[in-house]
């Protein structure tokens, strides 16, 4: 039960009102940015599959993630 509680607490965050920043948003303005589809790695699997195709068919790899090795296809 204790570990369950700990897990639930992970989903809770408390933050204090802080000063204004020139670029960026206040924490409570993150409604749109917090959407799953706004994550930079949304569709992680699609991106990984694409990276693998292009890694094996083109001379350039990486950029978004590590360029690194891993396959005999190139």
């Amino acid at each position: 039960m204790q570990s369950k509680i700990v897990k639930i607490f992970a989903s809770l965050l408390l933050i204090q009102l802080a000063s204004c920043a020139s670029l960026g948003v206040q924490p409570w303005e993150r409604d749109l940015l917090a959407k799953d589809e706004m994550a930079l790695d949304a569709e992680k699997l699609d991106l990984a599959l694409d990276d693998h195709i292009y890694f094996s068919k083109e001379a350039t790899s990486g950029g978004r993630a590590f360029a690194g090795g891993g396959c005999g296809c190139n």
Partner: protein, 433 residues
């Protein structure tokens, strides 16, 4: 009141008492905890007359609390079909001995030589652990293992991400090291050695061919090291706009050749006299600059990225990738995808060699190192099911158009298609639960 005198856990007892008071069961309370999340996909990749691949992926993620996150991934792919060898098409039929030395295959007149012996199954495992290590500082470390019939790769990575400016800015630094070992059937061919041809493959003991073949072999296996460094900056611009900039440096050291790729040696009429194995420099240093931006609209999300990469093989490339998610309803969306890619040829790329010419130090006729443009057009349809799972389908068309980077074509080669277009279809089904 004293602390620590009672072994009982107060919050645990209280939790039980709360469940009794509110008439909820502990199981109901547990629904709120983070469970394993799975992401699965099955992809088909098929080129016209060439390679067909089927790739299956299962990825699992679990948040163990306080942003301690484990993710693991299992990838299996099977590859069959024919792949360009680098040899040029000829006005007459050509016969080639298979890379392993076992048997021959015939290529019709005017056809680009493809080796159809590619059958491979690859298994890849990834494991990644991410957790905060200090206020606003996250660390991540991971391992990757990939194994196929003649290739083995082991990689590890580590990265740090630092949030500042109320998490509107994130700086990251990552390192990755990979060790790849290749062990092709028949061994590693010698650089630029003449490919042995067996005129009588049916004959049981052709010692002459075996001697010839063995004389082109150096060792059984070879390896390469890849070291990647990546610097990243992610910035929230406003409520709708997010940007990322990455700089990547990648150095490869070791065996970079493809042991199955040849160059045709042609005479003045453009007729093939012999084949030689390719040879690439044993180091490569790449720089990549990547910019991505995501924009949240009322009806969806626009995702655009641009990548410029340059390396000491003189391959410069530009990539533009864009996806536009359009929400059709609360639970469904379509997403068109467009990607454009353009690369310059490696300085040692040449589509063939000419007889009598001094042997270059490095040479490859692998079209993937030549000048080319490529584009991808795709459409994805996704839907959230009643139980919260997500099902999506993706269909894409990929076309590569290799280009002549200014090579003269002697004699009959002028009538041959030396830079054939490669067309492929990608189909994918994904399920997230």
């Amino acid at each position: 009141m004293q602390l620590s005198h009672k072994p009982i856990n107060i919050s645990a007892v209280l939790a039980t008492a709360t469940c009794a008071l509110l008439g909820v069961t502990a199981a109901q309370a547990e629904e709120n905890t983070e469970l394993w999340k799975f992401d699965t996909a099955l992809m088909y990749y098929g080129e016209t007359d060439r390679v067909t691949a089927v790739e299956g992926v299962i990825a699992a993620t679990k948040d163990f609390g306080d942003e301690h996150i484990f993710s693991g991934k299992l990838t299996i792919d099977g590859l069959t079909g024919a792949s360009a060898t680098g040899a040029v098409a000829q006005p007459t039929a050509q016969t080639f001995t298979r890379p392993s030395g076992n048997g021959n295959y015939e290529i019709a007149a005017g056809e680009t030589p493809l080796d159809d012996t590619f059958h491979d199954t690859r298994l890849q495992l990834n494991a990644q652990w991410t957790q905060p290590i200090a206020q606003d500082l996250r660390a991540s470390g991971g391992l990757q293992f990939s194994n196929e019939y003649d290739y083995l790769s082991f990689a590890l990575n580590g990265s740090l991400a630092y949030d500042l400016n109320q998490k509107n800015t994130t700086l990251s630094l990552g390192l990755s090291y990979a060790l790849d070992t290749i062990k092709p059937e028949g061994g590693i061919p010698l650089a630029l050695a003449t490919v042995a041809f067996n005129p009588n493959p049916e004959q049981e003991d052709s010692t002459e061919f075996e001697d010839n073949y063995n004389s082109t072999r150096a060792t059984d296996s070879d390896s390469k090291n890849t070291l990647d460094v990546m610097l990243g900056l992610t910035q929230v611009i406003n409520r709708r706009l997010l940007m990322q900039f990455n700089y990547g440096l990648s150095t490869v050291d070791g065996y970079t050749n493809d042991p199955f790729k040849y160059l045709s040696v042609v005479d003045e009429q453009g007729l093939t006299q012999s084949l030689v194995y390719e040879n690439r420099p044993d180091t490569r240093t790449r720089h990549s600059f990547y910019w991505q931006t995501k924009y949240a609209m009322d009806f969806g999300v626009a995702d655009i990225s641009y990548r410029f990469a340059t390396d000491d093989w003189k391959i410069d490339s530009h990539t533009i990738d864009s996806r536009l998610r359009i929400n059709l309803s609360d639970t469904t969306y379509i997403q068109p995808h467009f990607r454009y890619y353009q690369q310059a040829a490696a300085e040692f790329f040449q589509p063939f060699m000419q007889e009598g010419e001094t042997l270059p130090e490095f040479a490859s006729a692998d079209y993937r190192l030549g000048e080319m443009t490529a584009y991808t057009l795709g459409l994805k349809y996704g839907m959230e099911l009643d139980n919260g799972d997500e099902l999506s389908f993706r269909l894409e068309y990929y076309q590569q158009s290799p280009k002549n980077a200014g090579f003269d074509e002697p004699g009959v080669l002028q009538d041959m298609e030396l830079y054939p277009t490669v067309k492929a279809v990608i189909a994918q089904v994904s399920y997230r639960f």
